[in-house]
């Protein structure tokens, strides 16, 4: 057991008639915690409450013992937040965006530049410093978002769907980064609607459903139940026909098809092996982006709520 990073007490938030979060009481200690849930389950609402971007209708949030409300700011020296929303500073170069974020933390221009360059290096984007954000792929912008969250070496890292749109190599590097970060005794909360993304970095999870805490604990207990269910990966990249032939030859996929938008859909009953093979292709530069279906999570919900989750 480590230090308590986050403590939520009876935390509730409504959007008019819609319940965003309902009476969440939870304590998060150091290490990596996966925040799982389908779209609309309350993950982003929780992230926004944790960062004081919205007000709670009821209940409290404390981070490292300090109560968070809109306008709280000093604690953000210890919090790095990569929101789910895209980086909407399109006309800026990556380095300008990061320098702005660093300056908003009190850095002088020279120090902000130095800090930004280090953060870019950490996410493997140092060669893209002068590229405008609107000229980057979604995966690259995701890495820039993570870089801005790391600027001040935060004790608590809040990542909302950080792997969305990333290619396999970037996914692996980001997961390594998350593990390394937590390995230094810090806390990482990683929200995702894709179970295997969270599972790749941690066994601890909080599962939200309709704004309520559905489950909390270890993933391994439900892992075995869903391992051999059919899954689908969708990839974009170059020479996808060659990749498809390769996957079929290796007997990794049970079926495949090409979508109208040039996306290759691969069906498998052995997702870890497929991901391993795709990662190799990704290292060769063949894959630009990849999405995994979120059926896994739905299966978990089915298991937990007896098929009524959706």
């Amino acid at each position: 057991m480590g230090d308590i990073a986050i403590r939520c007490e009876n935390l509730s938030r409504w959007y008019g008639e819609v319940q965003g979060l309902a009476g969440l009481t939870v304590t998060i200690e150091s290490g990596i915690v996966g925040l799982l849930g389908p779209n609309g389950s309350g993950k982003s609402t929780l992230m926004r409450l944790l960062t004081g971007q919205i007000k709670a209708n009821r209940g409290t949030v404390e981070i490292y013992g300090q109560r968070i409300t809109p306008g709280t700011y000093e604690i953000f020296r210890r919090i790095g937040h990569a929101p789910g929303e895209d980086v909407h500073f399109e006309t800026d170069r990556a380095i300008d965006f990061l320098c702005l974020m660093a300056a908003l933390g009190g850095d002088s221009p020279a120090k902000a530049k130095d800090r930004s360059e280090k953060a870019l290096e950490r996410v493997g984007m140092e060669k893209k410093a002068d590229v405008k954000l609107n000229a980057m792929s979604k995966g690259m912008r995701q890495r820039i978002k993570i870089a801005q969250a790391l600027l001040f070496e935060p004790d608590l890292l809040l990542l909302d769907e950080p792997l969305n749109g990333m290619d396999p190599v970037s996914r692996r590097n980001t997961m390594d980064l998350v593990r390394d970060w937590a390995g230094m005794g810090r806390t990482v909360v990683m929200a995702s609607h894709v179970l295997h993304e969270v599972e790749a970095v941690t066994d601890r999870m909080l599962m939200l459903h309709h704004g309520r805490l559905l489950a909390e604990g270890r993933l391994t207990e439900i892992r075995d139940l869903i391992d051999m269910k059919p899954r689908r990966a969708s990839v974009r990249g170059e020479n996808l026909r060659g990749l498809a032939a390769e996957m079929l030859a290796q007997d990794v996929v049970t079926g495949l098809d090409f979508g109208n938008d040039g996306v290759l859909h691969l069906d498998t009953r052995d997702l870890p092996t497929l991901l391993d093979r795709l990662q190799t292709a990704g290292l060769a530069g063949q894959i630009h982006s990849m999405e995994i279906d979120d059926q896994e999570l739905e299966m978990v919900y089915d298991l937990l709520v007896g098929g009524s989750a959706r």
Partner: protein, 255 residues
């Protein structure tokens, strides 16, 4: 203070980048179009008086509110609409600092627009009436730009506040800047004292020598507000609007 400086630069760059200044400059040059037409169709135009009594009121009553809305409304509302404000509000600085920086950046971006709107017609007028001393034109341009610059502080702060406070900021801004500003300020009677434009007249009277208006846009003010009173009202409004902006930023959710 680095947060204020950084956001000022960011906001200034954002407001003046690419073709963004094109629309405000076009609005600022509308009085010039009126001037050109007047010069083209009239043989007995006194350029200095035309500029002073016709173009300056037109600039104050038409150019000022619309350029301010163009430039200042998006300063924060754009960041809210796109969800980008969340990046700024999760930094270890009090929110008023980036808000102040954003406001200053937007305001600085307006100054060249006003300067262009004041200089271009002055140059045309000077060419049309070469007998008038150059210093007279310089003083007039300086006076008009100063009035616009100071006035846009208050109206700009109101726009920034509306951008944070309201999701229908453009409607509210139109009501405050055009109806309560330009229209109420140009109507004779007691009501005009409740318009910020009334105090702009005080400044324009003192700094630009405007006493009457060919457009009837300047109301028949019997008692001109003093420069000091005008400045106090304008700066007071600016400060109040920025306080309200800071307060609204704490109460509005970032969604």
């Amino acid at each position: 203070m680095s947060a204020i400086y950084a956001t000022t630069v960011f906001s200034l760059r954002r407001r003046t980048l690419g073709l963004r200044l094109l629309a405000p400059i076009a609005v600022a040059l509308l009085p010039t179009l009126v001037l050109v037409l007047a010069l083209a169709f009239s043989s007995s135009v006194q350029a200095l008086e035309l500029y002073r009594q016709y173009l300056v009121p037109l600039t104050l009553y038409f150019v000022l509110p619309f350029v301010t809305m163009f430039m200042m409304l998006p300063v924060l509302s754009e960041l809210y609409d796109r969800g980008a404000i969340g990046y700024i509000y999760t930094r270890p600085v009090p929110r008023w600092q980036p808000l102040m920086g954003m406001f200053l950046g937007g305001w600085l971006g307006m100054l060249p627009v006003f300067l262009i709107g004041a200089i271009v017609p002055a140059v045309i007028c000077a060419l049309a009436e070469p007998d008038v001393a150059l210093s007279a034109w310089f003083n007039l341009v300086f006076g008009v730009t100063s009035v616009l610059g100071i006035a846009s502080l208050a109206y700009g702060a109101i726009c920034v506040f509306l951008g944070v406070w309201s999701k229908r900021a453009i409607i509210h801004a139109f009501v405050i800047l055009v109806i309560l500003g330009s229209v109420l300020g140009s109507l004779p009677g007691e009501g005009q004292q409740y318009s910020l434009h009334y105090y702009l007249i005080g400044l324009a009277h003192a700094w630009c020598g405007i006493t009457d208006s060919a457009t009837d846009l300047f109301p028949p003010v019997t008692e001109m507000p003093s420069v000091l009173k005008s400045l106090l009202v304008i700066f007071g409004t600016t400060i109040a609007a920025m306080f309200m902006t800071s307060s609204a930023a704490k109460s509005r959710d970032v969604l």
